[in-house]
Symmetry: C2
Subunit: 298 residues, 2 copies
């Protein structure tokens, strides 16, 4: 990422961190709020909310109009991580370099913290978005949120992912998992930004396609990192996919083909930006970050 993009990215990231920190307060019963805050403020690149903010900024949306939705998308992402890490799911003890939520607060509280975030996030959108964003737009944004959060999104991705452990799966099934478990959240981020920006349907569609290619590249890159990184680099337990006998692009086609596929998706994503004259430094930078990243993986 070049310096200009990096500065802007970090500014947005800081905005998200501060907004969550200031607005998610602790009330009685303290442990549920502490559990939510623990995962919400455990670090992370804030990629999805940054994408939402950047997309909205392409349409000159005031920052305060997109920030609540951007933070709500991060809350949804955190919710999915808390529940995915549970012993009955992926059973992961580490997340973002720290003990996972159920390791800190116990399983019951972790389940409930995830549940709580699923209501907290859309209520956050309703309560914090300025009235200059119309109720109709807000309903459309909420609808996109529920698509990404539910059976049309990450839930079905996780179900098929869990069901694919210890068995041979088809390329179509693998792509389904990547689409639903990963790309859908990026699509939400970009579509919410464009919708609050009142972008035309054509533009929303093009940006959605960008998010799709980016999401697939991101997920295969994540699988590459799982086999090439340490716990410190990754912030979560590496080698998990192999241990749980999970089919990934890497295990199915090897590291070299995985890298080629990432390059393919990244170039498709760039093409969409170029062809449609979507002039976003950050969207370009997050793609080039992956391309640079795989150059360093071995």
């Amino acid at each position: 990422m070049n310096d200009g993009a990096k500065i802007k990215f970090n500014q947005y990231m800081q905005l998200v961190n501060n907004y969550i920190d200031e607005n998610v307060k602790i009330f009685y019963p303290e442990n549920i709020y502490e559990s939510m805050r623990y995962s919400l403020l455990a670090g992370g690149k804030r990629l999805r909310p940054v994408i939402a903010i950047e997309t909205a900024s392409l349409f000159n949306v005031p920052i305060e109009n997109i920030l609540p939705t951007a933070c709500a998308i991060e809350m949804l992402h955190c919710q999915s991580l808390i529940h995915d890490d549970l012993p009955c799911m992926d059973d992961d003890d580490f997340r973002r370099g720290k003990p996972s939520n159920h390791k800190m607060f116990g399983e019951a509280t972790a389940v409930l913290a995830g549940d709580a975030l699923l209501s907290y996030a859309p209520k956050f959108i309703i309560d914090k978005t300025p009235k200059s964003v119309s109720s109709d737009i807000l309903l459309n944004v909420l609808r996109e949120f529920f698509i990404a959060a539910g059976v049309d999104g990450i839930i079905s991705g996780q179900i098929v992912d869990l069901d694919s452990e210890k068995k041979k799966i088809s390329k179509e099934t693998l792509e389904y998992i990547h689409e639903f478990k990963t790309a859908k959240l990026f699509k939400l981020a970009i579509r919410a930004g464009a919708m609050i920006g009142e972008a035309s349907q054509d533009v929303v569609d093009n940006l959605t396609l960008f998010a799709q290619y980016y999401g697939h590249a991101f997920q295969i890159y994540d699988d590459v990192l799982d086999v090439t990184s340490s716990l410190e680099q990754l912030g979560k337990t590496p080698g998990k996919d192999e241990k749980s006998q999970k089919s990934t692009y890497v295990s199915m086609y090897g590291l070299d083909d995985a890298k080629k596929q990432i390059i393919f998706y990244c170039s498709q994503a760039c093409d969409i930006l170029n062809k449609n004259m979507i002039n976003s430094e950050i969207l370009k930078a997050i793609v080039s970050d992956i391309v640079e990243g795989i150059g360093k993986c071995s």
Copy 2:
């Protein structure tokens, strides 16, 4: 319940059952939809959606305008039951006379089915409510939904309930649990019905107070049934409260005082209906059902 109220109650119940059955279809990946449908169609009195429909009908709301919200409230209720029954929570093997969701589908799917319902329900409200209900009213109804579903509602009730096992608690804590774990869902049902009916704030407030008294009576009655009923009568494991050393009104003050407290709440609830000339056969009948019910408990 008299025959007139019973016929109307059953009509509404049937409407809810049919609407859920017709609209919650099965797609790929089938097991998540099957798990959701299993709990949604496992029976139950449909008390909360019936209350929502009855309340809306007091303001001449067409049935199709309230039915999606009524069903969404039942989905939320089911979600809370699925997660409450998990081994890490109340660890209950039976619900509504059938194996609980995780006993049928496994823990991971049960967690995800609950998560899925938390998005499915509000999306259902947005997608299925006719456009004659304004976007502003819909946003208010959704907001009430998230209050009941999250840290301002059942989540905090469950957290304090879990935290109160095996210890002595104050009357205030017990009332907090009843308010948040139980009354909040009844409040949601009645407030959503009144809001879609465009009732005045005064009327909404009175109905909310009715739901509060009713909710507290309902919960203490539930605790009475836990010590006086069989598995067949209850549809879930009886004697659970004692086994998990849970403080209830019955364990803290004895059966007789519990019954007196129920009568007190029921009479307060009736007073609100009478004083404010809220002429609802069903709201009267659900209160008198509890009063009649405790007459038979020993």
